[in-house]
Subunit: 244 residues, 2 copies
């Protein structure tokens, strides 16, 4: 029996989604909870890894159970078992045998939040990237549109990225200002390692006026990570949802 669930987490206390020895991952907390709930070992497959400090509103993961479970009750049990960790299972579904959280994903949505105020965040600490100098969100959005479509994203690819090809197709990107908050929303079937954070880091250079839109385009066209801007911090990034 195959099941999938949608899970929210605060990335702050975790080494990221993926299990690693010696540090606490979201995967480990959930696998341990599933082991208690189902009374057998369970391996979880997430739709995508998230880095240390990256948050999720709608990560998706699947697992196999040796027997049929009540999805509603399992959700409640998991939420009781993961305490006190900041993880919340929104829903559990029975899925077909052919379903794979990672490989069946058609589109992944991420949001990146920037707090653009002279003063630092208090309530939103660990939830936003704080940039104290005023950003031009319209210019950022203009530069962002250059990224849409199928391109070589080497400029925004982490050196440790293990993807076979640097070519990806970005379906959507928008940079919007709402008062002091700037939101960057993106979607694609899949992303390179650190791709969203690296794109946001370079867009911030445009927003600050350190780069023109033309300079951004040249960096992107260079297909060279050393020409890109810095990596935006993990704490502003949210894995929003997955479409299958």
């Amino acid at each position: 029996m195959k099941y999938a669930f949608i899970v929210e987490y605060d990335g702050t206390p975790f080494c990221g989604w993926q299990r690693q020895s010696g540090v606490l991952s979201v995967q480990e907390v959930l696998e341990n909870a599933l082991k208690i709930a189902l009374r057998h070992e369970v391996v979880l497959f997430g739709s995508g890894r998230t880095d240390t400090g990256v948050h999720a509103w709608g990560q998706v993961a699947h697992f196999e159970s040796l027997y049929a479970v009540d999805a509603f009750k399992l959700r409640d049990s998991l939420n009781a078992l993961v305490r006190p960790h900041p993880i919340a299972v929104h829903q559990v579904f029975a899925v077909p045998d052919t379903f794979h959280a990672r490989f069946s994903a058609r589109e992944r949505f991420y949001t990146y939040l920037i707090q653009n105020t002279r003063f630092p965040p208090a309530l939103e600490r660990n939830r936003v990237w704080h940039i104290a100098v005023p950003l031009d969100a319209e210019k950022m959005n203009q530069a962002a549109q250059l990224l849409i479509g199928k391109h070589d994203f080497s400029t925004f690819r982490a050196t440790e990225c293990q993807a076979k090809s640097p070519v990806k197709t970005l379906n959507h990107i928008a940079v919007r200002r709402d008062g002091d908050k700037i939101t960057v929303s993106v979607s694609a079937r899949s992303f390179l390692h650190h791709q969203v954070r690296n794109m946001v880091g370079s867009l911030a250079l445009v927003g600050r006026g350190k780069w023109t839109v033309q300079a951004f385009k040249e960096a992107f066209d260079a297909c060279d990570r050393t020409k890109g801007g810095p990596t935006a911090p993990a704490r502003g990034l949210y894995f929003e949802r997955v479409v299958y």
Copy 2:
């Protein structure tokens, strides 16, 4: 020289706004920062106390400085000095000698957030009151309208409240649902101790269907705290702003 500032804080790690011996208050952290910045003892007057765990987006406080300061620089210094506490000074203003953060206030605005989902909050932990059973926000709003105007609010007054009279004038209250989130916004010149949390606790009984709007009215009219519902938790309450 008199100055005032607007300050945001995450109430979670504090015993509340007011200085108390042996525990950490927002007032103490800010007074200590001001003492370093101004190089003399400073007493802060807040526009209102907040309880342990209650947050603020726009608390206002005033103090006297022995000399004129650059408001812009002082704001930056304070934000550096309060670290690592989750406090952010948004703005510092010079104010007339007649200004008093507490006594000059004409209207105070609070917001109360409820997350109405079967699953618990993860990213919003310590930021919302989680109610797992479905709430009828329209019914809550209907009951809330009974509170507008000048009334005896004894039903929603903490037993330890030190106000001379239980009579207050509520200017505005609205209960709105936005997806899974329910927001209660209120304003008045001043509130009794725990008044907002007690009103929300009783409105939640209406939302759950445990009380009819008529039962809510009867409890309110009884002017008796023992007839009121429970006190809603501090973590959902935000001191939004003050109008002078």
